[in-house]
């Protein structure tokens, strides 16, 4: 297994990244279940972690949110200047949502079933100190930014489609003013056409709002369309990392080649 070269993250000076991970190791039951030596996400960038299920990519993602339970996390994770592993729960809660937001795999299950979407949005805004008329305005603007109508705010999660629910989750991030979105397989539970909508929304928000996206996916076709850089994980370790174009054009690791070969739409994929 090849150890990824350091310093691949490019030209940005140190300390300006929204999410900075160094020597992350998550251990459960005496085994390393996820290990990421280096990961940087700058404003407006999109970094994708790819790999098959069980490769430790979701664990790495949840670790950046400080949402790992029942496992030991070591290394250094800095999110918007906050050291996630040493910060107080209070400091962490102020970062979550307001600066880095989460988008989950199954969109409807990620929204509280007994709460109208507008109530959820209002509570989340109030949690971060935005209330009253400003909250209402932010909610309207945010659902507009993800191309949803205002009436979505009066609906319950089971009354909206998967694509709508996923776009609403992104709208939550926008309303809270998050600089980065951490997305765990955001499209894998959706139909192909709906996937395209969600991807289009994410791309637009990156371009217009400078939203950074840390994406976990096993969908290489999606990753090739949206990601600037890629980390390939297998069995808890990063086997290859680099610029997305480079990795897809000339994969160095045999496992990466295998993954790419399985996707017909990619240049190196099977016909």
């Amino acid at each position: 297994m090849k150890t990824p070269a350091k310093g691949w993250t490019g030209t940005r000076p140190a300390g300006t990244a929204l999410i900075e991970v160094r020597d992350l190791e998550v251990r459960a039951g005496g085994r390393v279940i996820s290990s990421v030596p280096e990961l940087d996400l700058g404003p407006g960038e999109c970094v994708a972690i790819v790999g098959e299920s069980g490769s430790g990519k979701t664990t790495a993602l949840m670790a950046t949110m400080g949402l790992i339970e029942g496992a030991d996390v070591s290394g250094k994770i800095t999110v918007c200047g906050t050291d996630v592993l040493s910060a107080s729960p209070r400091t962490l809660r102020a970062v979550r949502g307001a600066r880095v937001a989460l988008v989950m795999q199954s969109p409807q299950a990620a929204l509280t079933p007994t709460m109208r979407l507008g109530t959820l949005m209002r509570r989340a805004l109030a949690r971060h100190g935005v209330k009253g008329a400003e909250a209402a305005e932010r909610a309207r603007d945010a659902v507009g930014a993800v191309l949803l109508g205002e009436e979505i705010l009066r609906r319950y999660p089971h009354e909206v489609s998967g694509g709508q629910a996923q776009r609403f989750a992104i709208a939550l991030a926008i309303a809270l003013g998050a600089e980065a979105v951490v997305a765990d397989e955001p499209t894998s539970a959706l139909d192909v056409t709906v996937q395209a909508e969600v991807v289009a929304v994410l791309r637009r928000l990156r371009a217009e709002h400078g939203l950074a996206v840390l994406l976990v996916s096993h969908d290489l076709a999606l990753v090739s369309r949206i990601a600037d850089r890629v980390l390939v994980m297998r069995e808890g370790r990063v086997v290859e990392s680099g610029q997305a174009r480079t990795v897809f054009a000339a994969p160095a690791d045999p496992y990466t080649r295998e993954l790419i070969a399985a996707v017909p739409e990619l240049p190196g994929g099977a016909p």
């Binding site: 307001a98 299950a109 990620a110 509280t112 989340a124 949690r127 009354e159 939550l172």
Partner: protein
């Protein structure tokens, strides 16, 4: 929503019909001839035959069942063999007293059980969780008659903080008589502004209600804890954490309502159970409720009265389940949609 309601009502009617047939069967299956019980052990053959004819005991079973159903529906629940009063009118005085006791107990049980369950879930595996689980286990496993006697001895007889027995101070019947509407003393006293009566009833209610509340409070605390821990592991709870909410808010503001389903079903179950469990407590505290009436009926093989008590408890159970289903559909929009 309307379709859901109609379907649930239909189910309830079916259950009630089943219970009526069952009580009828039990009345005919219990050892002891009701005619003998009515006419007395020394009655002559002619007197026995007269009693049999009077109760229609010589008719074919299906005719007896039909007559039984018709009588029940017209409010004719038979005559009690030991009070010699119509069972229906007996029940309208004893049942409200039980309802008062169990209702108060259930309010206490929910008010204590749900917050304790939240506390245990919040500090899962830590000291508060441990103490809640231990005390709820105790509350569930202590025999209710023992608890009733212990509480009565300590807080009424020895410390004198509360009255020993009864529903209210009997002298109030002359000094401050109660105008009766619902037969639930506390409710009638409250709505007629009879404050001495209300105070006295509440004082008398404290100990037996706490004793009856012990078991429901214990199971409600345990179920709330389990349902909350399950709900707090769901994706939407992780999402709430990712939005910056702390663990207490995740449990109370995001998980409690979706987790209410199993807790509400449990409350309906323990409500019916508490009525029967309350029988023993009524005996200890001399509470003039269904329990004492049932005990007297059983002792005198008073089948119409026993059947009446059975039917009331069964009806109450069905009603409690209906109310819970209704509450559930109000609390959880998913249930409404499924309906």
């Amino acid at each position: 929503m309307t379709g859901y309601l109609i379907r649930r009502l239909g189910q309830a009617v079916l259950v009630v019909a089943g219970v009526i047939v069952l009580t009828f069967a039990i009345m005919r299956l219990v050892p002891g001839d009701p005619a003998v019980a009515y006419a007395g052990p020394k009655a002559s053959a002619a007197e026995l035959a007269a009693a049999r004819a009077r109760f229609g005991l010589d008719d074919p079973l299906w005719v007896q069942l039909w007559n039984y159903v018709r009588d029940l529906l017209s409010g004719e629940w038979g005559t009690s063999l030991h009070t010699r009063q119509p069972v229906a009118s007996d029940l309208t005085t004893v049942f409200p007293a039980s309802l008062e006791l169990v209702g108060a107990a259930l309010i206490v049980a929910v008010a204590a059980g749900v917050p304790l369950g939240v506390l245990a879930a919040r500090y899962k595996g830590k000291f508060p969780d441990f103490s809640v689980r231990l005390s709820s286990m105790l509350a569930v496993s202590v025999p209710v008659f023992w608890l009733a006697l212990a509480v009565q001895t300590v807080f009424a007889s020895n410390l004198g903080w509360f009255p020993v027995a009864g529903e209210y101070d009997a002298t109030l019947d002359t000094t401050s008589p109660l105008r009766v509407y619902t037969n639930i003393t506390a409710v009638d006293a409250l709505f007629t502004g009879n404050w001495p009566m209300l105070t006295s009833t509440l004082e008398h209610l404290v100990l037996p209600a706490l004793v009856v509340a012990a078991y429901p409070a214990g199971v409600i605390a345990q179920m709330t804890r389990a349902a909350l821990i399950e709900e707090a592991g769901q994706d939407h709870a992780r999402m709430a954490r990712a939005l910056g909410f702390g663990e207490t808010a995740v449990l109370t503001r995001f998980s409690l309502r979706p987790a209410a389903g199993p807790v509400l079903s449990l409350i309906a179950l323990v409500f019916a159970y508490a009525i029967v469990n309350g029988f023993l407590v009524e005996a200890v505290f001399n509470w003039p409720g269904l329990g004492r009436y049932a005990a007297d009926s059983i002792r005198s093989l008073d089948t119409p009265a026993i059947a009446g008590v059975t039917l009331v408890v069964a009806l109450l159970y069905v009603l409690a389940n209906l109310v819970v289903d209704l509450l559930q559909s109000l609390l959880d929009p998913r249930v409404r949609k499924a309906g």
